[in-house]
Point group: C2
Chain length 368, copies 2
């Protein structure tokens, strides 16, 4: 049984709106059609899409929906295709279910589906924020809920079929970048049932294997979404499950993202930078470790199409190193409030607000 | 050949948000499923939906999309179903095309489709506002465009097949209500090719026959959307085309809307009104022809679930009779400006702004 595992498409992403807006739709579309061609050539038996197919979970762009439906329709023409909801996915995709499309399955709730030769368990992104107000301790209510689902999956594992789990989730110990550090809670690998032949993960944009139980992979996003992902591996995965599981990486065509770091914008540095930029065809971020200059910023953004962001150490500090200090003050104010009113839930409640703040930031910078 | 002709569903409409918000989704859903049952029972060969299936052309409600897709999927399971875009329709519906659903055709541009026994010509709503800025005289450019399409239709008319035109448009002389008066331009019946066996129209919410050429019908919306439609006939139409065309009205189940008019809120009038309201189960608007009283308004809105609007002659005048005066002053200012800058296009340009203002008003009051 051959499976294509892909995720984190973020169709409709517009990058670097603050400095130089770049519409990534065509790049994403090309990478996705490349993957469809791979699925076709390899004659896969199953396509698993582990979430975040679209970038805006609210009011998505019409041209993004068009690309998305075009791509999933092509996948579904090849093999049964399962689209599992991630945190970015627009609930409106659910209405496609009403068309009862052969081979296209939209999965928005945890469930298990048994086919002839495989048992598929699905864990879409579960938003603990929906539990806010419903219970005093949403995080542990959330954990209980997930445990219930994982137990259901455990029971459905079949000894004479392939067993595959598809999850849009953060697994403990799997984050790498600073951004992903912001994620409040992660799933404990130990809570996963053993017995899966493969775990298809989505949420982290870097292609990487999970070495502990559950043995699985993040397949990686098809394109590099932002500079935090410069060194990520981008693509998808081809899985073959027979006696044992064989995983083969697929690389997608996409634009290179690169940060050019310079101490300052002295003439010699600018000359070196500009000759570097002349030979660079991807998307460039330039970072100077010195006082800001609007003139330099403007010059580089206007002169080089490839330059989409020019940053200076001072605002780098503002947004990076200094951020925790600034934020702590706000969070601490909230902590004081919570301490007085709900002393039992201080930690959890502060964590939730921290997470919310980070999510707002992330969605503002469109980096996830 | 048997056809179901329906239009102006406005799925997702919320009525009377300013005084008492009422979600009309369930009522609309029931009326539509009633029509699906009729199509099934009558074994229609064709379903024609003449536009405005959804209420919000921008960011439609997810539950509205769900009802819409559920209903069109049911229709498409019965017979080839053609959904023609109206002015309210969200362009995102176009992405359903990518699924190449058997029997579901989304028509957003003028076109002719030939089937075994029928030639179908489609004239979706054409938005002349898209021509603003493209040409100095958008209205006449628009007329030219429509003439081109109508000529294309004329050429495709076939003597040995049924010929049907489906249009979301305002035909000259077809409006009845004050609201519909606001529509800037209408299609001249004389510009329509002769030779259609039936013309299926959408846009006007009242069921009514067009007596001149082109002989056709507005099928009416399935529910009464606002009090301007109290006396409208609601439903759909069953058409049978053989030697001649037979049109049979279908009535949909929907809530009655009624305006209760009183001179004032004297105790005797209030007593009479309240006993009327106690025996009324639809949606009621109460209109007093006297000075406003917030107390009376509040009492009636709170006491009677059926009361969704309470108006007084003074604000009735403000919104009704006085409106043209107020508006004229704004329009006149604009006219003065246009006179100076573009004297050749004064009339057309003023007309366009008038239309825009009216459209804004209409969409604010959610009355069309």
């Amino acid at each position: 049984m051959k499976i294509l595992h892909t995720s984190d498409w973020h169709v409709g992403l517009q990058s670097w709106v603050g400095s130089k807006a770049v519409d990534r739709l065509e790049e994403t579309r090309q990478a996705l059609h490349f993957l469809v061609d791979v699925a076709e050539k390899e004659r896969v038996d199953l396509v698993l899409i582990a979430g975040d197919v679209i970038h805006s979970r609210i009011n998505p762009r019409i041209d993004a929906l068009n690309v998305l439906s075009e791509v999933v329709a092509r996948f579904a023409a090849i093999a049964p295709t399962f689209l599992v909801f991630g945190n970015h996915d627009w609930q409106g995709l659910n209405c496609w279910k009403n068309f009862q499309l052969k081979n296209l399955h939209i999965i928005e709730r945890p469930t298990t589906i048994e086919l002839d030769d495989v048992v598929l368990s699905f864990l879409p992104y579960t938003d603990y924020q929906r539990l806010l107000g419903v219970t005093k301790d949403p995080i542990s209510a959330m954990r209980d809920l997930l445990d219930t689902y994982l137990n259901d999956f455990r029971v459905r594992i079949s000894s004479n079929k392939a067993n595959v789990l598809v999850a849009h989730a953060m697994l403990e110990g799997c984050f790498e970048s600073e951004r992903e550090n912001a994620i409040l809670y992660d799933l404990k690998p130990s809570s996963f049932p053993t017995g899966f032949d493969y775990v298809a993960l989505g949420h982290v944009h870097n292609q990487m294997q999970i070495l502990q139980q559950p043995i699985g992979w993040y397949c990686g996003s098809p394109i590099a979404l932002d500079f935090g992902e410069e060194k990520d591996v981008k693509g998808a995965l081809l899985i073959e499950i027979s006696q044992r599981t064989i995983v083969k990486p697929v690389r997608t065509p996409h634009v290179t993202l690169k940060t050019f770091v310079y101490e300052d914008y002295s003439l010699s540095n600018l000359n070196r930078l500009e000759s570097e930029l002349e030979n660079f065809s991807g998307y460039a971020r330039v970072l100077f470790k010195c006082v800001p200059s609007n003139e330099v910023r403007k010059h580089l953004l206007e002169r080089y199409e490839s330059v989409v962001k020019v940053e200076f150490e001072t605002d780098w500090q503002e947004r990076g190193a200094d951020r925790p200090v600034e934020k702590k003050s706000l969070i601490e104010m909230y902590r004081d409030y919570v301490k007085g009113k709900y002393p039992d839930f201080e930690e959890e409640m502060v964590k939730i607000v921290e997470q919310l703040l980070r999510e707002v930031e992330q969605s503002e910078t469109a980096q996830d």
